[in-house]
């Protein structure tokens, strides 16, 4: 019944709320004093509560960066856990200001759903995970398999596309809650669990008793550019979200970290001076404090720091930077010029 309630909320909210006007979201956020971000219900490395209830992950960092830019305080956030199914309704209805929640940017979502994608904080692709004991080596061997998947995802669509394109049959088992769908996979109800490869790695590393009992197949069957998403109707708010993420990447490009940011503020490099607000102008243009980028780097860190802290070699997930390395290192992360 909860499902219906949540979706019914949109109808109600859209019907009752005053007609949207430019700047509505940004004004509301400022007045409220904190940013409300939709995050996942728990995918380690992206957004996940620890035993003390403190949330960490690159998506949480993305949210904190927005708060740092806007309020000079990365703590001024409220994280709302949403399942894949609930997230868009939550954003449409105004329950959250922004989704920082491993959400793939697609044409449909960018248009018909009424959203705008504000950059990419993780380049991903969809993969398959199977128990090792099945002896499967390639996704091409999965004909007839039963596949566990969460509803309301691009995952669900890519899955159908892939099997269709390869003339294979499959049986989906579609369960809304991540915990339940993973439990169904681990119990053996499904032969395969599919989602974005990074999240497969996260589930394998943090939710299995023995990660070595499971293998992630080599094929990536889709492109999944994940990033923050806002709703239509407030361009200034979109700008703040977009440039907060860019600032994290730009900081890495400029070699500015949370450790050396105060040092760097003394730099004579005009690029860095402009970035850190030593030379004013950028903050004013964006409608935030001139120290916005300084605050992001100081309180949250640059993109590379966030990646290493949440997904990198020192974490159980142990992801390579891969496509998420800076463009100067052969990756796709490329900050638009801050000037």
């Amino acid at each position: 019944m909860k499902e219906i309630r949540i979706a019914a909320m949109v109808a109600a909210a859209l019907a009752v709320s005053a007609p949207a006007f430019a700047g509505a979201t940004l004004d509301a956020v400022k007045q409220r004093g904190f940013v409300t971000c939709g995050v996942s219900t728990g995918v380690a490395g992206f957004s996940n509560p620890d035993s003390a209830g403190k949330w960490t992950g690159i998506d949480v960092d993305n949210c904190r960066a927005i708060a740092a830019a806007l309020f000079g305080d990365a703590e001024k956030v409220k994280l709302v856990p949403t399942t894949a199914q609930q997230r868009f309704t939550a954003l449409q209805s105004g329950e959250v200001d922004v989704l920082t929640r491993n959400t793939t940017q697609t044409l449909q979502r960018d248009t018909a759903l009424g959203f705008n994608a504000a950059g990419v904080n993780f380049y991903d692709g969809q993969g398959f995970m199977v128990p090792k004991k099945l002896g499967v080596k390639s996704a091409k061997e999965l004909a007839g398999a039963t596949v566990c998947v969460q509803p309301g995802t691009t995952t669900e669509l890519n899955l159908a596309d892939y099997f269709r394109a390869n003339r294979m049959e499959f049986k989906p088992v579609v369960i809304e809650k991540l915990d339940e769908v993973i439990a169904a996979f681990f119990s053996g109800r499904c032969d395969v669990f599919t989602t974005d490869a990074s999240q497969l790695a996260s589930v394998r590393a943090t939710r299995t008793q023995n990660p070595d009992d499971y293998v992630i197949l080599p094929e990536l069957i889709s492109k999944e550019p994940l990033g923050p998403v806002v709703r239509h109707g407030d361009d200034q708010w979109f700008d703040v979200v977009k440039w907060s993420l860019i600032a994290m990447i730009e900081a890495e490009e400029l070699g500015i970290t949370s450790k050396n940011v105060d040092e760097m503020a003394k730099s004579t490099n005009p690029n860095i001076q402009r970035f850190l607000g030593v030379t004013p102008g950028m903050g004013k243009a964006l409608g935030v404090d001139e120290k916005w980028a300084y605050n992001i780097v100081k309180q949250v860190g640059n993109y590379g720091e966030s990646f290493e802290r949440n997904l990198g070699k020192s974490t159980p997930i142990k992801l390579e930077r891969g496509k998420n390395a800076l463009w100067t290192d052969g990756g796709l992360m490329y900050a638009l010029p801050i000037r």
Partner: protein, 399 residues
């Protein structure tokens, strides 16, 4: 009685007096018009506001999406469906899946609930206590919890497809559900179905005829025997006409899954068992109170008249108990239907689960919710209408 003698006469029914503020019926109508106007105004405000908001946020609207390709798979379907089918088709599959679990659930919950309700009145201490315990436990645990429980039992305790239990030849029990052989009869299958329909119609017709004959002549006819003969015989005839085929489609493990035969999925099984077990507890209470409502004197009188125990139950106690039982039963049937929407929690593709996916892929929450509401409203009204008709049918005919 003369008019014009002041207050004592009946009120003048002229046009002027009908618009009199002191006339209660005039006031009542006026109030209703005002309330109706306010409601209409509110609805108009909400709808126009909704349209403005949808427009300003550029959210797609309209039911056009139902004709677009759905693009997602559905695990079980009573009709042909593939990811290349439309959203409309997907929702239709969901409606059928909801009806499937609701109809079977209603029938089985009624049977189980009646048995438990009757046994709870048993003179045997153990049996009645076991039934009380059943009712009290199942009624008081949240249904969602029970669904998770049944689903976990099925998926955690049954072996994988490769090690499927094989209790009877051709029947396999595994985490893929129950796979069993079905006749592969081709045209004969349709003839059998026609036979079943003809048999049922024949049986009902015979019963009506027999009743009339008994009213007329007092002679009884062997209704049960003839009905059974018709219902079994007609399909048999269809099978013979179809060439008496004996081929079966037997499930067989190939690759990851069973091919051939038919299957019941763990999701369907868990949802069905959960709904039946939960609702039967409520139905048991309704049946028990219905039977208790018929005074014992009725039974004694019937027995004294020489009716057998079976006839007493069938002709005297049940018809009276049913009048107490049927109205609350209607709401249990509605509950089963509505509770089946918990399906999404354990992955059974009912209409809510599928409409939710459509909502998510298209972003059209309002249309999706409207669809879900229309479906449940139609099913609920259908059940209510049928039950009200049945209730009238069995109502006490006052002489």
């Amino acid at each position: 009685m003369a008019t014009g003698t002041g207050n004592l006469g009946p009120p003048q029914r002229s046009a002027a007096s009908r618009l009199n503020w002191n006339d209660p019926s005039f006031r009542a109508i006026l109030y209703q018009i005002i309330v109706l106007g306010l409601v209409a105004l509110t609805v108009w405000y909400l709808v126009s506001n909704l349209q403005a908001n949808l427009k300003s946020r550029n959210i797609a609207t309209g039911f056009g999406f139902l004709g677009l390709e759905a693009g997602f798979g559905i695990s079980e379907s009573l009709v042909e469906y593939s990811p290349a089918s439309t959203y409309g088709r997907a929702v239709f599959v969901g409606i059928l899946n909801t009806l499937r679990v609701a109809v079977i659930g209603i029938i089985l919950a009624t049977i189980l609930g009646t048995i438990i309700g009757v046994l709870r009145l048993s003179k045997n201490w153990l049996i009645s206590k076991v039934c009380s315990a059943y009712v009290e436990t199942l009624r008081n645990l949240p249904l969602l919890l029970q669904l998770f429980f049944w689903y976990a039992i099925i998926t955690e305790t049954l072996p994988s497809a490769r090690q499927a239990l094989n209790p009877l030849p051709g029947i396999f029990l595994s985490q893929r559900g129950i796979n069993f052989p079905v006749p592969a009869f081709g045209i004969a299958f349709d003839l059998i179905l026609i036979g079943v329909a003809l048999g049922l119609i024949g049986a009902v017709a015979f019963r009506i005829w027999a009743q009339k004959r008994q009213d007329r002549t007092g002679q009884q006819s062997p209704v049960l025997l003839v009905a059974a003969g018709l219902i079994l015989g007609m399909p048999l005839l269809g099978w013979l006409l179809g060439g008496a085929p004996t081929e079966m489609s037997v499930p067989e493990l190939r690759g990851f899954n069973f091919r051939g035969g038919a299957s019941l999925s763990p999701e369907f099984a868990a949802l069905l068992i959960g709904l039946i077990a939960y609702t039967a507890a409520f139905i048991a209470e309704i049946v028990r109170s219905g039977i208790l409502a018929v005074t014992h004197g009725q039974t004694e009188a019937a027995l004294a008249l020489g009716l057998t125990r079976g006839q007493t139950l069938r002709l005297v106690v049940l018809p009276q108990a049913l009048r107490v039982i049927v109205p609350p039963m209607t709401s249990q049937y509605l509950n089963i239907t509505k509770n089946s929407s918990l399906a999404v929690a354990i992955g059974y593709p009912d209409v809510v689960s599928i409409a939710n996916t459509a909502i998510n892929q298209t972003g059209q929450a309002i249309e999706g919710i409207a669809l879900i509401m229309a479906v449940y409203l139609s099913i609920s009204l259908g059940i209510s209408l049928f039950m009200n008709w049945y209730n009238k049918h069995i109502a006490l005919v006052e002489r």
